[in-house]
Amino acid sequence: MRKFLIGAAALALAASAAHADPGNGKGDGKGGDKGGGQAAAGPADPGNGGGKAKGGDKADRGPSMHSAKADRGPEMRADKADKGAARQMGRPNDRVDVVRDVRTERRADRDVRGIDRDDMRDDRFDRDGNRGLIEGCPPGLAKKNNGCLPPGLAKKRDGYRDANYRPSWFGYSSLGDGRYQYDDGYLYRMDNRGSVLGYIPLLGGALSVGNQWPEYFQPVSMPDYYVDYYNLGAQDSYRYADDVLYRVDPQTSAITAIAALLTGDQFNVGQSLPMGYDVYNVPYEYRDRYAEGPDANYRYSDGYVYQVDPETQLIAAAIKLLT
């Protein structure tokens, strides 16, 4: 099995968190009626949380492709640069209080489904599973003399493509600097002799519509909320890598569409708003409800609206915008 070389970075801002959710079940369907008529979000639930949930909520999702990725719910990633610091999921004592934006009349439906509040307390998934440098040569590229050389790198190339890239330019900030070159949909880690040490398949390159999902990338089971919010469908019909959600053909595993781009940012109730959310960005349909005011600011990320204390900039609540 190929080995993922995850760069170990050290900027851990905060621990990950689990979610507590006072209600479950789906709202009124994602689409044109996302916001209209919805009731005010309920209060953040102070009771549940505890990021210990790991797998207990997966029974209704079918068999997990691999147990380590059975968690669901938005992983509250410690930091983008913390990708290398272990892929373990359950981080106890972390919590995000979550309220769900749903119509009050739907609450009965949620109860009928029998989903208790514990089901949604953990909205994490294995973000780091499909991230990092893969040792060796990409499929189809033969090794030669202790290395391999992609055809495009074997010849003199024109223009900017001769540039050495930092992986962070492609979103892989955990890999640090080094000699990387791009060719034909992959980013290659080169040694001083110009041989390939490893590679990263890239969105828009190897990970493009029509291409086969690479076998070395394991399916990642997404949280129910993400499945619903982004209309991902059954577990065998989507894939995740590097903060991107893909739709795949369940039979062929061919990529059929790019479903969503995620920030991957971590929001923990009681902790500071991540950097880079200075501007009010709540989707239009929710602005009446989550309007900026002297007592609360609101920011959107990856399907959630986060309530923020204007004075302290601490996150007061995470609000699901389902659907």
Binding site: K30, G31, G32, K80, G159, Y160, R161, D162, A163, N164, Y165, R166, S168, W169, F170, G171, S173, Y182, D184, G185, Y186, L187, L202, L203, G204, G205, A206, S208, V209, Y230, N231, D243, I258, A259, A260, L261, L262, T263, G264, D265, P274, M275, G276, Y277, D278, V279, Y280, N281, V282, P283, Y284, R287, Y290, A291, E292, Y298, Y300, S301, D302, T323
Partner: protein, 186 residues
């Protein structure tokens, strides 16, 4: 799901200025009231001057993202911005370089709905430049430049908002006159 209709007629929606006291109390854009707003992909596809970007998004497979349920703001380099790149701009449209193009485009996508009014309000509240993260694990910095909004990428590349914001059902398009992320030079 709505199809990407590059050449579909797309109403260019003028934003109504936001209330000075509350960003959340902004009046809905004109097209919002009719309940028929198009998707981001359609808005970009129908916007004059964004042809290169629209083609790039479609070619890169990102158009589906902007037809989907996620909420995004697209800093949309206009055709002149791409043309000013010269040969590098042409190289970006080469399918062999598509992953690089996607990396650049991701640096122009922000989470949620940002309007010029909200950006200006944030700058005013902070009394200086404000930052927003992109979908490329980076940030852009907004600052006031007279009545205009200036945008700087992490590499120092700068652009200005040079057109009316287009409000779509799932996001906002802010036309800009340059790229705030570019490929490294060789």
């Amino acid at each position: 799901m709505q199809k990407v209709t590059r050449f579909a007629a797309a109403a260019l929606v003028a934003l109504v200025p936001l209330g000075a006291c509350s960003q959340g109390a902004d009046a809905p854009p004109a097209a919002e009231s009719d309940g028929a707003r198009e998707t981001l992909a359609a808005a970009i596809g129908g916007a004059p001057g964004l042809t290169t970007l629209s083609d790039a998004l479609s070619g890169a497979g990102l158009a589906d993202v902007f037809d989907g349920p996620g909420s995004y703001t697209v800093l949309a380099p206009d055709d002149d911005a791409f043309a000013s790149l010269g040969e590098d701009g042409k190289a970006l449209t080469d399918p062999a370089n598509r992953a690089e193009l996607v990396a650049i485009l991701r640096g122009h996508i922000l989470p949620g709905h940002l309007t010029p009014e909200a950006i200006k309000q944030a700058i005013a509240d902070k009394k200086g430049p404000v930052k927003m993260r992109t979908l490329a694990d980076s940030t852009v910095t907004f600052s006031a430049d007279g009545d205009a909004i200036s945008i700087a990428g992490e590499s120092g590349a700068r652009a200005k908002v040079d057109g009316e914001a287009l409000v779509a059902s799932n996001g906002v398009v802010l036309p800009i006159n340059g790229l705030v992320k570019a490929a490294p030079k060789s």
